[in-house]
């Protein structure tokens, strides 16, 4: 369970998270919505342990992200909005993922194939030289192969063509029921069938929390 209690985070004089309270239990599929600057990405980054809170508390299965980051991140698969320009080759990136997270490389390849991405042909290629769509597919494959209890997606389909999006959504439909997902999105209609809860944020607060 991800528990956020009165989380507050300030950058300069602005509270980007202003007393956010939220609980995400096993198997919940959450759409995290809101305008730019609402605090969605900051909240996700705080859950991933990138930010130290100015107040409140976040725990993932009882572990604090900034204090027990390894325990927390073992449980989470994360896909950023824009694939970063990682200079490692695909082989090296898979080695990093495989050893740090105990993910089977073959599982990554299998997931990638389901997204119609053939990793074998690009193993020695630096990640940043792949096309935008290929990069995003690989990051999705890695997150799915990790088989964590939580999957966090920050606008994951931004670089995917319509066909790849369909593939991605169909893969999500096959996720085990226990897995909880958090989608940061501006277009709930696209993932309407994949979420059962909508959380709307504005000015660092949760202003709407509705089960669908």
């Amino acid at each position: 369970m991800i528990e956020v209690r009165e989380a507050r985070k300030r950058f300069s004089d602005t509270f980007v998270l202003d007393g956010v309270t939220l609980t995400i239990g096993e198997g919940e599929r959450v759409a995290l919505m809101g305008p730019n600057g609402a605090g969605k990405t900051t909240l996700v980054r705080a859950i991933l342990g990138f930010y130290h809170l100015d107040g409140g508390r976040i725990t993932v299965d009882g572990y604090t992200p900034t204090e027990e980051r390894v325990r927390v991140l073992e449980r989470i698969g994360f896909i950023p909005q824009t694939p970063p320009p990682i200079k490692l080759s695909l082989e090296e990136l898979m080695e990093y993922v495989s050893q740090s997270s105990g993910v089977d490389r073959e599982a990554i390849k299998r997931e990638a194939l389901r997204m119609e991405l053939d990793i074998e042909r690009n193993l020695q290629k630096p990640f940043f030289k792949l096309s935008g769509g290929m990069k995003q597919k690989l990051l999705i494959a890695i997150a799915l192969a990790k088989e964590g209890s939580y999957l966090i997606f920050d606008e994951p389909t931004a670089n995917l063509d319509p066909k790849a999006r369909e593939h991605f959504y169909s893969l999500l439909e096959e996720l085990p029921e226990r897995v909880a997902t958090i989608f940061i999105t501006h277009r709930i209609e696209e993932i309407a069938g994949l979420v059962n809860r909508k959380v709307y944020m504005d000015l660092g607060k949760v202003v709407e929390d509705e089960y669908l």
Binding site: G49, H52, R69, P80, P84, P85, L88, E92, Q99, S101
Partner: protein, 275 residues
């Protein structure tokens, strides 16, 4: 393999493919080649002959080039990754901050120290092939100096890289550190000494806090045990510390300072927001 070793290994692999490493390799390999071509190993200048002469020239060059090369190529290791969101992705995996930080540092140390050391080794092998007398003591102590200098600037670079959030600021800061240690401190000290008539001991003590000055003095001690080129300062240094202590200080002080900066950088990395 531990995650620390994994991070180090991947950093080395990534660096081996990068353009900066190619330039770095060409600079030090090219320097050594240039020494051979221009006949420095065969020349006799002011009493220094053969390999000793080569080592002396190599020291003069590395004192200028090595620090700025390490600073510029290393300060971006964390700050640039942070700016380009690489850090966000790589640290979304269960790798402890300690493994990531020190792994990066170990990888970067090996990749910056090895070419400089190998270039030196090539010079020695060249000397052996030509049947020259090898100044082994000088070679080993100088290798230790290079190790210490690399460790120092790597520590400073990682410190800058973690406290500064923008890549441009990190580059600017590293340049300021380099020029301050290389020249400004000396100029400022001479100015202070002349204007305020500070005691020689105070000025020399402050100078000996500058690790590049320490490296310079240590290197001179190798070839000129009486430090005659330094003038009256030599009496103070040799009478107070002695040659062995100066050599030991020239190795231990930069390593300790580098380690101090590296640890401070790690604490910043751990205690502050990562992004």
């Amino acid at each position: 393999m531990s995650n620390l070793a994994l991070v180090a290994k991947l950093d080395i692999k990534e660096s081996l493919r990068s353009r900066w490493f190619l330039v770095y390799l060409l600079v030090f390999g090219g320097l050594m080649a240039l020494f051979f071509i221009t006949g420095i190993t065969d020349s006799v200048v002011m009493g220094f002959t053969g390999l000793s002469r080569l080592l002396l020239v190599y020291i003069q060059v590395t004192i200028v080039i090595l620090p700025i090369f390490i600073l510029i190529t290393t300060v971006k290791s964390i700050s640039a990754d942070r700016e380009s969101a690489i850090l966000e992705y790589m640290l979304s995996f269960p790798v402890s901050l300690s493994d990531y930080y020190w792994g990066k540092m170990v990888g970067r140390f090996l990749i910056t120290f090895t070419p400089v050391f190998l270039a030196l080794l090539v010079g020695i092998v060249w000397g052996v092939v030509k049947g020259a007398e090898i100044p082994w003591a000088v070679f080993f102590i100088y290798s230790a100096f290079l190790f210490a200098l690399s460790a120092l600037f790597l520590g400073i670079a990682f410190f800058i890289s973690t406290i500064v959030k923008s890549h441009d600021m990190a580059l600017g800061s590293s340049f300021v550190v380099w020029i301050t240690l290389l020249a400004f401190l000396d100029i400022a000290l001479i100015g202070l000494m002349l204007q305020n008539r500070w005691s020689d001991e105070v000025v020399i003590s402050i100078a000996m806090l500058n690790p590049l000055e320490v490296f310079r003095v240590g290197a001179i001690t190798l070839f000129d045990p009486e430090l005659t080129v330094m003038g009256p300062v030599a009496y103070f240094l040799l009478d107070t510390f002695g040659r062995e202590m100066i050599l030991l200080y020239a190795v231990i002080y930069p390593i300790s300072l580098g380690l101090l900066f590296a640890v401070a950088g790690y604490l910043f990395f751990k205690k502050r927001d990562l992004l």
